[in-house]
C-alpha cells in the first residue's frame, strides 16, 4: 500500500517561538484536604519540582518539532467540584457501546465528578477499579504503593504539573493471579473552554494477573482552547498479561500533554495500543520499560489528523534485561495541513543480550499540505541483539483505487475503504466493537469533509 520510499527529513524548523506565559496555577491548588500524609508530600514535592522546571521551548531536543507559542497558558483554570453540571453533557454514543457489551467495570470521569461500576465477582477477588478521588479516600495504602513509582514528576514540566495537580483519574489494581475476562473501560470526558483537565491513570497488575482495559479521553470541539496534562503509569508484574488501549478523541481545541510509562516484569506481557483522532496540539511521551527477563511489549498506534492538528509521539522502548522483546508499529493518515511527528528510540542496556527490538512508522499522507516526520533511533549497549526499524511515507495506491472503482465503489468511498483497511489490524485490538465503529466513522467523516 505505501510506496516504500523512505523520506529523509532535512528541513529543520528553528523558529524562536514567542515566550510562553506561565500557567496561572498556584501552590494552594495542590489538594491537601482529607488526604494521607504521603499523598500530600508526594504532590507538594511535585509542585516544588514544577516550579523549578522551565516551560519547554523549540530549543529542547524533545520539543523542537512542537511549537507551544500559541498556547494561552495563563488562561487555563482547574474545574470546580461538580463543574460538569454546567458543561456539555457526555454524549450517549461514548458510553452506549460499552454498556451494550459485556464488560467487567466502568469508570466515567467528568470535571469534578465520577461514576464507577465494577462487577461484584471482581471486587470480591480484590480487584480495585475506581476513580482517583475515591482511591485517595478508600485506598491510601495502595496509592502509597503504586503512585509515582513508574513516572517521576521531574521528567518534565507537564509531568510535574500533572503529578502535583491531578484532580481526576482512574486506578486499576489486579491482585496476584487474578484473571479479568471481560474488558474494563474508563472515559475521561473533558468539556469546557479554558479548562485545565489534569489526570492521573494508574494500572497495576500483580504477578500472574491478567486484564484488558480501555481508557479514553474525549471532549466536544469548542471555540476557545482547553488543556489536558496527564500521567499514565503501568506496572505489569512477573508473568502478568495486560492489554491496555488508550484512545484520544479530544476536541480539536485541546492542548494535550501526556507522560506515560509501563514497566514489565519477568515473562510479563504488555499489548499497548494507542489511537488518536482528536486534539489541537498533542505531545505524548510513551515509554516501555522491559525490566524483567523474557518480558515482551508491543506498542501499536493508529492516528488520523486533519485541519491544523499537530500530533507528536515520542516513544522509547527500553530493553533493560535479557531475552526481552519489543515491537512497535505506529500507522497514521494525514489530510489537510495537519502534521505528525513520531520519534522513536530503542535502547538496549548493557548486558541485555538476546533482545529483539523492532520499530516502524507508516504514514499515508493524503494531502499536499500535510507533513509527517519519522525519526527512528537505536542505542545499543549490548552484544548479541537484534534491532530493526523502518519508516515509510506514502500515498494511496491508484491501482487499489481503480480496482475498487471497477466494482462500483465511488472514488471517495474507495479511498475511505483503503484507509480503514490500513488501520484495521490495529483497530481490531480494541475489544469493544461499538468503540471501534465510532473511531472508524469519525475517520470516515473527516475524509468525507476533506473531499467536500
Amino acid at each position: 500500500m505505501t510506496k516504500e520510499t523512505p523520506r529523509v527529513v532535512t528541513r529543520v524548523v528553528r523558529r524562536e517561538g514567542a515566550t510562553l506565559k506561565d500557567f496561572a496555577f498556584s501552590a494552594d491548588m495542590v489538594r491537601v484536604d482529607n488526604l494521607s500524609k504521603h499523598l500530600i508530600q508526594y504532590r507538594q514535592a511535585a509542585w516544588a519540582e514544577y516550579q523549578t522546571l522551565p516551560m519547554p521551548t523549540l530549543k529542547d531536543e524533545a520539543w523542537r518539532r512542537t511549537d507551544l507559542s500559541g498556547m494561552p497558558s495563563d488562561r487555563f483554570h482547574l474545574p470546580k467540584n461538580e463543574a460538569y453540571l454546567d458543561l456539555a453533557p457526555l454524549p450517549e454514543d461514548l458510553t452506549k457501546p460499552v454498556a451494550d457489551q459485556e464488560h467487567g467495570g466502568e469508570v466515567i470521569l467528568t470535571p469534578g465528578g465520577a461514576q464507577v461500576s465494577l462487577a461484584k465477582e471482581l471486587a470480591d477477588q480484590g480487584v480495585i477499579f475506581t476513580d482517583l478521588r475515591t482511591a485517595e479516600q478508600k485506598h491510601p495504602a495502595l496509592l502509597e504503593k503504586i503512585m509515582g513509582k513508574i513516572v517521576a514528576a521531574k521528567e518534565g514540566k507537564f509531568a510535574a504539573l500533572a503529578t502535583a495537580l491531578a484532580d481526576n483519574g482512574a486506578v486499576l489494581y489486579v491482585p496476584r493471579g487474578v484473571t479479568i475476562e471481560q474488558p474494563l473501560h474508563s472515559l475521561l470526558w473533558g468539556p469546557g473552554e479554558y479548562l485545565a483537565h489534569i489526570s492521573h491513570v494508574m494500572v497495576w497488575l500483580e504477578a500472574g494477573a491478567s486484564a484488558t482495559y480501555v481508557h479514553e479521553y474525549a471532549s466536544p470541539t469548542e471555540k476557545a482552547p482547553a488543556f489536558h496534562a496527564g500521567l499514565v503509569e503501568i506496572h505489569v508484574g512477573d508473568n502478568a498479561n495486560l492489554r491496555f488501549v488508550e484512545l484520544q478523541s479530544w476536541g480539536e481545541h485541546v492542548w494535550n500533554f501526556t507522560h506515560e510509562r509501563s514497566s514489565v516484569g519477568q515473562d510479563g506481557q504488555l499489548d499497548w495500543i494507542f489511537g488518536a483522532i482528536g486534539g489541537n496540539v498533542t505531545k505524548n511521551f510513551a515509554e516501555l520499560d522491559l525490566v524483567g527477563r523474557g518480558s515482551m511489549g508491543r506498542m501499536s498506534g493508529f492516528y488520523f489528523t486533519d485541519g491544523k492538528q499537530h500530533l507528536d509521539y515520542d516513544s522509547q522502548q527500553n530493553h533493560r534485561s535479557q531475552n526481552t522483546t519489543s515491537d512497535l508499529l505506529f500507522k497514521g493518515a494525514l489530510i489537510d495541513s495537519s502534521r505528525v511527528v513520531w520519534q522513536g528510540m530503542i535502547y538496549v542496556a548493557p548486558g541485555a543480550m538476546k533482545t529483539d527490538g523492532y520499530q516502524a512508522n507508516r504514514n499515508l499522507v493524503l494531502s499536499r499540505e500535510a507533513r509527517a516526520d519519522s525519526i527512528p533511533g537505536l542505542e545499543i549497549l549490548a552484544d548479541d541483539v537484534r534491532c530493526t526499524h523502518g519508516a515509510t511515507v506514502g500515498k494511496i495506491d491508484p491501482e487499489q483505487v481503480f480496482y475498487l472503482r471497477a466494482r462500483g465503489i465511488p472514488q471517495v468511498e474507495a479511498e475511505r475503504l483503503i484507509v480503514s483497511g490500513f488501520f484495521d489490524p490495529i483497530m481490531q485490538r480494541i475489544p469493544f466493537e461499538g468503540v471501534r465503529e465510532r473511531f472508524q466513522s469519525s475517520i470516515a467523516k473527516k475524509m468525507a469533509a476533506y473531499h467536500g
Partner: protein, 259 residues
Amino acid sequence: MAELVIRDLKVSIEGKEILKGVDLTLPQGEVHAIMGPNGTGKSTLAYTLMGHPSYEVTGGEVLYDGQNILELAPDERSRLGIFLAFQYPVAIPGVTVANFLRTAVNSRRRAVNPDDKGVPIPEFRKLLKAKMEMLKVDPAFAGRYLNDGFSGGEKKRAEILQMATLEPKIAILDETDSGLDIDALRIVSEGVNALRGPGLGVLVITHYQRILNYIKPDVVHVMMDGRIVESGGPDLALHLEEHGYDWVREKVDSGSVPA
C-alpha cells in the same frame, strides 16, 4: 437485451497506439473469446472497457445499451453492469472480502437512492453465503483480507465470487486462466459456467485455447496488432491451438483480411 458494441476503438498508452481500431459486438447471453499472441492489445482492451485512467482513448466508441460509456468513470460503468475479472487482482490489506463486497453492493444501492441505508447485514450474509456455496468457496474466505496473501487460484476464485455477487450483464475475463493449474482452472470455469445465462454476455480474453475447453465460446475472435483480424465459431480456437497464429499473420500481411 443489452449488448456491448465496440466501434473502431483506438487507444494509446503514453503516446503509443496499442489499439488501432477494434470492432466487436457482444450481445448479452453469448460468450465470446478473444485470442491472440502476447502484446497485441488484449489486456489494453479489457482495461479500456473498464476505464483505467492510464489508457487514453484516441478514437471510436463503446456503446452499452446504446450509451457511450467512454465518458463514464469506472465505478459508473461497473454500476451499469460491466465487470472486469482482473488478470492481476490487487490486494487491499485490512479490508475483508465480505466488507468489500458489502460496500460494493451498497454503492449500487446508493447510486439508485442516495438515502439508502445499505443492505441489512443478515441479508447480505445470506446472499454471500449462497454465492459461496454455489461456487464451492470455503466460507472462511469472507473473513480474509481481499487478495492479501491469496494464491493465484484463490485470487481468480475471488474474482468470480465478486462477479457472482455483483451480477453483471457484461463480464470481461482478462486472462483468468493465466497462472492456474488444471484443477484451479476447472473450478474457476465451473463458476463462470454456473453464471452463464441469457442475462450475461462474457468476453473471455486468453492466450491459450485451454480455458475454452471448459468455457465453450459461441464466437472466437483473433486479435493481432491492435485489431480483430479474424472471427469464427468455436472451431477457430481449436484450429489456432493446432496451427498457431502464423497463418493469421500471413493472411493479415497479404491483405486478405482488413487491417
